[in-house]
């Protein structure tokens, strides 16, 4: 088995601040994802990466940057934190061979909870 580790678990920032969230996986998965979860809403895709150094925009990429430094890690940067913003950011990974059922299953980290004062 493997695990996805997100750091930090809780992040408190100031308006306008640049904030970075980190994600590590030891599944040896090719594809990694960043999702945002707002209260009462489903998850929305921010960025994903199908291999090292690859970046693909999701539906919510504006206001964020991402970096796939190596196969096991995927970081997300909030470029300018918005006042009173509160959300949970979830990192996930999959084998990524879409079209192969077992490879499409997502595995999630436990999230980073962001609060902007």
């Amino acid at each position: 088995g493997g695990i996805i580790t997100q750091t930090p678990k809780f992040l408190i920032g100031q308006e306008g601040q640049k904030l970075t969230l980190k994600c590590q996986q030891n599944f040896n998965h090719d594809t990694m994802y960043w999702y945002r979860q707002d209260s009462g809403k489903g998850l929305r895709l921010i960025y994903y990466s199908i291999t090292e150094n690859d970046l693909q925009k999701g539906d919510l990429s504006e206001g964020y940057d991402a970096s796939r430094e190596k196969k096991s890690s995927f970081s997300l940067t909030v470029t300018s934190a918005q006042k009173n913003e509160m959300a949970v950011f979830l990192c996930a990974s999959s084998m990524g061979d879409w079209g192969t059922p077992s490879a499409e299953t997502l595995y999630f980290g436990s999230g980073t909870r962001l609060t902007v004062l």
Binding site: K41, G42, L43, L45, G96, W98, S102, E104, T105, G111
Partner: protein, 108 residues
């Protein structure tokens, strides 16, 4: 409308009861996944379906791509089943579209 509509938004059951959750899709989807989010916030994959029906213990899920829906049935609900359940569907490769979730509370 929303590409993935999930119902009900909230559900309360007594231990031992059976119930079902449903997701309707506005377009044809290639696959669906069901997740449970526990009280700590972690999402756990319950099912991946490209078609048909799968069972795992007290859970059963069906995906009908042609009719554009998927269901998750919980039998003999237990306290530990409490949490939020999400369906997520894929039709474009790599990009899942999530439903808004069903908050399930199981009472003794």
């Amino acid at each position: 409308g929303m590409p993935v509509e999930q119902n009900p938004p909230a559900l309360s059951l007594y231990e031992g009861a059976d119930s079902g959750l449903r997701c309707n899709f506005s377009t044809t989807m290639k696959s669906v996944q069901w997740f449970q989010q526990n009280h700590r916030g972690r999402l756990i994959t319950l099912f991946y379906l490209a078609q048909g029906t799968k069972e795992n213990g007290r859970l059963k899920s069906t995906f009908n791509s042609k009719e554009r829906y998927s269901t998750l049935h919980i039998k003999d609900a237990q306290l530990e089943d409490s949490g939020t359940y999400f369906c997520a569907a894929e039709n474009m490769g790599y990009k899942l579209t999530f439903g808004t979730g069903t908050s399930l509370l199981v009472d003794p």
